[in-house]
């Protein structure tokens, strides 16, 4: 089962520039979470802080009792073996072929025989659709292929916590759909805790159990997907609708004057009500996601504190799931 990641009061700045302050959230064990946020709000910095590559000035990141910010370096190294991180730019080793890149964690951390390694690596290469390219160097493949290879490398040790930095950037819509399904299937298979950073609205709408959003140096919200998807919060609503009207501007955020002018401008269409699309189901033949039951229990216990819109969305989803309790549903969108 995946491991819970508890973030408490995390604050990070680079010199004068404050990136975010006092971020507190819990990634529930085994569930899939998505972190949204306009470009440059420190999503990558957040992922790197979770894994201890960057050291926030304040706060803690607790994983199995190890604080990834302040614990001794040795404990942090041990704990990192639980992680798989897919970097925004792939971060493949330029001097090694794709095969060697993906085999690297196996060769470093296991005593498997070369034939065994070959089997596992080729399996992963097939999953991410890179068969035939395994002998190439990272410099000889496209950006999207590099990302997929980076994902394969992150997955090769069956990590219990998977962090993906914009898995969709550089991928076409079809590949992105496959990738969404892949992430859900993966979660069904190894029940890992996952955090995906993305701008992609399709991924945000169909993949996660929980969603959060970083904006203006803060965590705006973090909670069950239904809460964000029904949120009236201007930043969240603007982002999810992909509109220009709202607090998010081209350069991070708009100033008060522009906002006022926008508010005064007549004819700003009222936001259309968003439809909540059902979450992806694992592909037929795979076991059901164990996180679903855990999450239902968790969410139902806090349902009274949620806003009304989120409550009804949750009840609706619950009723739908209860309709077909054990049969593997012909999942919406799983053909993608």
């Amino acid at each position: 089962m995946g491991i819970e990641v508890v973030v408490e009061g995390l604050t990070k700045s680079f010199g004068e520039q404050s990136i975010w302050r006092d971020v507190t959230l819990t990634l529930p064990a085994g569930e899939v979470s998505v972190m949204l946020g306009p470009s440059g709000t420190g999503k990558t910095v957040f992922l790197k802080s979770l894994i201890g590559l960057l050291k926030p000035e304040k706060g803690r990141v607790l994983i199995n009792g190890v604080d990834m910010v302040n614990s001794p370096e040795r404990d942090i190294y041990e704990t990192r073996k639980l992680f798989g991180l897919m970097f925004q730019d792939g971060a493949l080793f330029g001097s090694m072929s794709l095969f060697d890149n993906i085999a690297f964690p196996l060769r470093e951390h296991t005593r498997k025989k070369e034939s065994e390694i070959r089997r596992i690596v080729m399996e992963r290469i097939e999953v991410v659709g890179l068969l035939g390219a395994e002998g190439k160097l990272p410099g000889e493949i496209s950006g999207g292929m590099r990302k997929r290879a980076g994902l394969a490398r992150a997955l090769v040790l069956d990590p219990q916590i998977i962090l993906c930095d914009e898995p969709d950037s550089g991928l076409d819509p079809v590949r992105t759909a496959y990738l969404s399904q892949l992430l859900i299937d993966l979660n069904a298979q190894i029940d890992a805790t996952m955090l995906i950073v993305t701008h992609n609205l399709d991924i945000a709408a169909t993949v996660p159990d929980n969603m959060g959003m970083l904006f203006r140096r803060e965590l705006v919200t973090f909670g069950p997907r239904e809460v964000l998807l029904t949120s009236e919060e201007p930043v969240v609503a603007q982002f999810l609708d992909g509109r220009r009207e709202g607090p998010i501007g081209m350069s991070e955020e708009k100033d008060a004057a522009t906002l006022a002018a926008e508010a005064g401008a007549a004819g700003t269409a009222p936001p259309r009500p968003r439809r909540i699309v059902p979450q992806l189901e694992p592909s037929p033949g795979l076991p059901p996601r164990r996180a679903v039951a855990r999450r239902r229990e968790r969410v139902m216990s806090m349902i009274e504190q949620l806003p009304p819109a989120a409550r009804s969305a949750l009840r609706e989803a619950d009723a739908r799931n209860a309709g077909a309790p054990t049969l593997p549903m012909p999942a919406a969108g799983s053909g993608a």
Binding site: I51, Y77, L85, D89, A91, L92, F93, G94, E108
Partner: protein, 254 residues
């Protein structure tokens, strides 16, 4: 400014300590070590051999001319060999290891750093210091010692050639003065110097490579600085080691 310099120095020493500890940590990266040793040796051996012949010759000529004026020609051989083995050779080695080997190491690590390869390695629970820096530092140390032996021999032969053939010295005088003045400790200190120089060159190159500022331009600057810093450090350390050696080890001829 001063605190900045002190902080850098502190970090450099911290890296040196970390590397020294990681040298003994298993698993040892044997393949990486062999590859790096081969690489550093490859880029330094030929230039070292080519530099050491004229260098040996210059010293032999200079010492020869001085001893002639003092009426001590018979000591030319021993004196020039000592100068070559103890001073010229470790310094030639230092220049080449830092200039050819260290700069390549620094550029390599620096570009890996900005491509996030080192971060990726750390994330996978593999320490870049143990995996990459230790084999490189050991390689520069090993090659320095090897190269020092090579330069000493080639320099001495060059000196012999110029002294005996061009300055009409006699082979017998050359050899007897050599055995009168030189002792094994001279060779030991020479190799010890080379070992220390190799260590310093490796550490400085790794330190600057691991901490480039900004993008590719930063890597270029880092390489440049690593060579300059290494030179400064090596000449200083050479002075200290020479002074200590002359104090501690009694000269044979006296």
């Amino acid at each position: 400014m001063i605190t900045g310099a002190l902080r850098q120095t502190g970090r450099l020493f911290a890296l040196a300590a970390e590397v020294s500890r990681a040298i003994f940590r298993r698993p040892f990266q044997f393949r990486e070590f062999v590859e790096q040793f081969w690489f550093v040796a490859g880029v330094t051996i030929l230039p070292a051999a080519l530099v050491s012949i004229p260098f040996g010759a210059v010293i032999a000529l200079q010492v020869g001319s001085l001893t002639q004026q003092l009426g001590a020609q018979s000591f030319t051989g021993g004196a020039s060999v000592l100068a070559v083995v103890q001073q010229a050779s470790p310094l030639i080695v230092a220049l080449l290891i830092a200039g050819a080997g260290g700069s390549a190491i620094c550029a390599d690590l620096g570009s890996r750093k900005i491509r996030e390869e080192l971060d990726a390695m750390e994330v996978m629970g593999v320490s870049p210091v143990q995996r990459l820096v230790v084999p490189r530092v050991l390689a520069t140390m090993g090659v320095a010692v090897l190269l020092n032996g090579l330069v000493s021999v080639v320099g001495t032969l060059g000196g012999y050639f110029f002294n005996v053939i061009l300055q009409d010295g006699t082979p017998g005088a050359y050899l007897s003065s050599f055995s009168a003045l030189a002792q094994p400790a001279d060779l030991y200190i020479s190799e010890l110097k080379a070992l220390v120089f190799g260590f310093i060159a490796g550490i400085v190159a790794a330190y600057r490579g691991l901490n480039p500022r900004g993008g590719p331009k930063g890597v270029g600057d880092a390489v440049n600085q690593s060579v300059v810093i290494t030179f400064l450090l090596l000449f200083f350390v050479n002075m200290v080691m020479t002074a200590l050696y002359l104090q501690i080890v009694p000269p044979k001829g006296g």
